[in-house]
Symmetry: C2
Subunit: 578 residues, 2 copies
């Protein structure tokens, strides 16, 4: 099998397959997108200009039968943070690209402004043609593409938000049922795709195949152990399929770490109405097109992504993720799960990050434009994004821009990116990750909720600073490796509790590539990726001063536990230093 | 005479006079505001929160009979650039504060959110009382204050933009006729005043006096030489009083350095209609309340600030500055000087920087929200600022925010602050200043137009990089000193051409303070101030990577001279290194 990097020049419309350069060997997913961006993008360039690049890359275990290994990473210089960005997604395109032998697709330069293109990808083939779906949002756009290209392809697209180059614009990836419902959400990767003039990518996997394995038997055996470890773990095997990630709503409420009404208090009186338990119950009661336990991509065995039915049983969209339920629910004072499911669908359609836009919605409420809890007002405001109105654009640019436009001082962002659904004062390990991750505030970058709240991988008191630096450091390193492997982050739950699950990952890498890596190689790989990212950020002008929470988190006590964020600058600076 | 620093705590409402701490001795104006901000404000703090401070300071030569020495500096951490900010203004408050013995007024902490206060200042007296004019724009607000406090006071205020905490909000200072038409415009100082809950400052100078002089005779003699040098210089003595700063419109057009339609070309076909020559002619023809040669503050002998009459002879406002005429004129494709005078008045009233808002207006045009040249559309859009609508807020936040919201890539800012009226490709010395000034893009920080265009202080080819680093460096150092002295920057024209004018400034400082400084002390002082500012910026997270122009200035040729910006990063980094 011939592994290639595809370079697509939007200005000349040339598509060129090249052998993988030595400097990128041994990398995939986030490791590869970050390496390419760091080596090829001038860190001080304008993120929406011709000098940025947009990179798509499946992971090192993509194109295999390993469970949950078909994530796809998207990398670029972020128009939101000004630093390097990797956002990854489920859906089918990651697996398709991998099986087509594509290590990465690199989108370069930009099309003539105002012109829109789509990229047709087949095995060994790539062609830019005029876009069919410019001006449409993701569902209509993908619908139109399916009419032409059929149901055996998968699709990558941007909605109007990406066309408008809004800083919270996402990139959509179709799931197994061809819904554009899986998103590389964070940091404005959709704006970069829009700036390139690339509306969609059509991926025809015909002729592709699983990757060759250096030691097929060892791989098969390790993959089996790995799958078993996932199924045996209470979160991966039971919690996620039953309740989705929304299983966390009631847990974070109980823990007093559920940011409510723009991070002003840690519990929400309406928590139960927007919980995973309620979502599960309504899905079962309403029936119809509703689905409990649905996998977003081929090879998923955790199936956290259900399908949420409306009151008549018609599918609204995927089960909203915990962070989506949080952003539009507790953090905006809304307890109507049906409305939140509609918002989620709208965000998938116009193509924006639900975290940054949801947290921005709460700022509109903090500013008094609407009241906390105004679900109808929120709906109308979200509809504005697709119109291109000023207010819609502000919302679609996310939390930092909204905070600036409304002159607010309680704006929960790091490096311009919104904090997700865990208050950094009441879940301090998470606060360390928000502050120090090269990605900006990002829960996935080092998910300390594990030990802080869930008792996974040990126990660290969420309210104390004790142990948080090491916890966040280790998780950030492990996550960089998991993202490079192309694995769904949720495999970490099993890997943290079951040493053999982690060993199985290493065994699969060794069996696929004919290597003899030890467990320490996972750590080495993660550190290497973080080093690459931090170095890019430094050259882009993001210093340690950007590795801080907004100062009100240090001074304002957070109820019910009356806690402040108290990790010192020096402590934060030690997290990713080795 | 008892010189004091007044500290006003907005949370406790305590006003406290203190002796000038040793560390601030020998500083005034920008030197003092920057020293206080750098020493007392945590560089990573939220600029709109309680940990920022807002400092007002007259200069070292304030409170004397030296010509043009009554400027006032305003300092804080900027909500626009994220770095240190000094913006200075003419008008009466600087001279009043100086004569009242106030070395600085430091506004600390913040009032209860939603409450508005005004500060009553008298000699040795200070009191916070509830604001009378909250919700009003500057002209109405000051009108109301005059009714209560009378015509012998001077006034500092913010309009609605400051109340909204928009990042381009200015602070208004009344001129000799009590018009709030002189502004500390740049970097959002008005937003910081708004965040403090301070609507206005009433300054009653009764009982104040000129400062004591160590050597009155020497001072008098030096002041006389200085004034003569100003009057003898063709720009200071003739160009500015006759045409205002707008004398530059036709000159920059001729030079091909007049940024037109969002910096897309260097000449504007409608230049003559918005020139200083036209303004002078219309003012004379129309008569009425129009004035040619008006000084904005007591002691001004250059009188660049005329009064512009409408077609019926009624005063619209001050003569728009060159940068205002440029921003709303050539850069927005508008050639109607009457409309521009109205925009200027509106900006003074709502309280925003005409440069950043004018350059943002051009971005609305670049984005297609209005067409270039649409003067009526521009008027309607400017009216939105005062309403608090989303689109008005975006415009009032200035160029960087507007560029982000509209997903534009040609956004002419450095450190988030808009470039003024000189294209950095065709006036390269100015480009060096834009890139490297700790203030963000700012023409006043090192006005290389002198040698590049005007042949003042020598001649440096504006299109060549030759000599530009040294020119900008020397001018930035000199400007930091001029701003510290409280002198109007325009004295530099005379000082650059006439060595005795510079010597006279040093002689006045020596005669006032009983010192024996040489000319090198001016250089030392300027370097010291810049060092303080750069150090703050570094701690705030602004590195050399922020000392760059947006990359399109390096790649896109600028007509008519087909020039690019070609000063390398290494060269830029050398400018303020010594």
């Amino acid at each position: 099998m011939d592994f290639k990097i595809l370079r697509v020049n939007m200005a000349t419309r040339e598509c060129r397959f090249e052998d993988i350069p030595e400097q990128y060997a041994g990398l995939g997913g986030r490791g590869l997108t970050s390496a390419i961006v760091a080596a090829e993008v001038e860190p001080t360039c304008g993120p929406l200009g011709p000098n940025n690049k947009l990179v798509f890359a499946p992971g090192l275990l993509g194109g295999t039968n390993c469970a949950n290994s078909n994530r796809i990473s998207v990398g670029c210089k972020s128009p939101m943070t000004g630093g390097i960005k990797e956002a990854n997604s489920g859906g089918e395109p990651g697996g398709h690209m991998a099986r087509m032998g594509l290590a990465a697709v690199v989108i370069e330069d930009m099309a003539e402004e105002g012109s829109w293109w789509q990229l047709e990808l087949g095995v060994g083939q790539a062609k830019l043609v005029p876009a069919m779906a410019a001006g449409l949002n993701n569902y209509d756009a993908v619908g139109k593409l399916i009419e032409k290209y059929g149901k055996d392809c998968s699709y990558i697209s941007i909605g109007r938000a990406g066309e408008f180059k809004l800083t919270a614009a996402s990139i959509a990836f179709t799931d197994r049922e061809l819904r554009p419902s899986r998103h590389a959400g964070r940091g404005g990767v959709g704006a970069v795709m829009g700036a390139k003039g690339l509306k969609a990518i059509i991926i025809n996997p015909a002729g592709g195949s699983l990757h060759p394995l250096a030691d097929p038997d060892s791989f098969k055996s390790a993959a089996k152990r790995f799958a078993q470890a996932l199924m045996d773990h209470p979160v991966c095997g039971q919690g996620l399929p039953t309740y989705g990630t929304a299983v966390l709503v009631n847990i974070l409420h109980e823990a007093g770490g559920l940011p409510t009404r723009n991070f002003s208090v840690g519990r929400f009186e309406g928590h139960d109405a927007v919980s995973g338990e309620t979502m599960n119950q309504l899905t079962k009661e309403r029936g119809g097109e509703g689905v409990v336990a649905h996998g977003c991509m081929t090879g998923c065995i955790m199936r956290c992504s259900g399908i949420f039915p409306d009151k008549k049983g018609k599918a609204v969209g995927k089960w909203p993720e915990y962070e989506t339920l949080w952003a539009f629910g507790p953090n905006s004072g809304i307890s109507d799960i049906d409305m939140i499911a509609r918002y989620d669908r709208m965000c998938d359609d116009v193509g924006v990050d639900t975290i940054d836009v949801g947290a921005a919605l709460a700022l509109f409420m903090e500013a008094g434009v609407l009241k906390f809890g105004d679900a109808e007002g929120a709906l109308k405001l979200l509809e504005e994004i697709s119109t291109g109105s000023a207010i819609g654009r502000v919302l679609g640019c996310g939390t930092a821009v909204t905070g600036k436009v409304y002159g607010l001082r309680r704006v929960p962002v790091v490096k311009g990116q919104s904090m997700p659904a865990y208050d950094p004062r009441a879940v301090k390990g998470q606060g360390v990750t928000y502050a120090t991750s090269p990605m900006g505030a990002d829960h996935t970058a080092g998910y300390a909720v594990t030990s802080n709240i869930l008792g996974i991988g040990g126990t660290v008191d969420p309210l104390s600073k004790e142990g948080q630096l090491e916890l966040s450091r280790n998780l950030q390193i492990a996550t960089a490796s998991v993202d490079t492997a192309g694995l769904c982050l949720f495999v970490a739950f099993a890997a943290l509790d079951n040493p053999d699950a982690l060993q199985a990952i290493v065994d699969m890498l060794n069996a696929k590539y004919g290597l003899t890596l030890g467990l320490d190689a996972v750590v080495g790989l993660g550190k290497k990726v973080l080093d690459i990212e931090i170095d890019f950020n430094r050259r882009a002008g993001l210093t340690e001063a950007a590795d801080r929470l907004p100062d009100y988190f240090y001074s304002e006590k957070f109820k019910p536990h009356n806690v402040r964020f108290d990790i010192t600058p020096e402590e934060l600076d030690s997290v990713l230093s080795w």
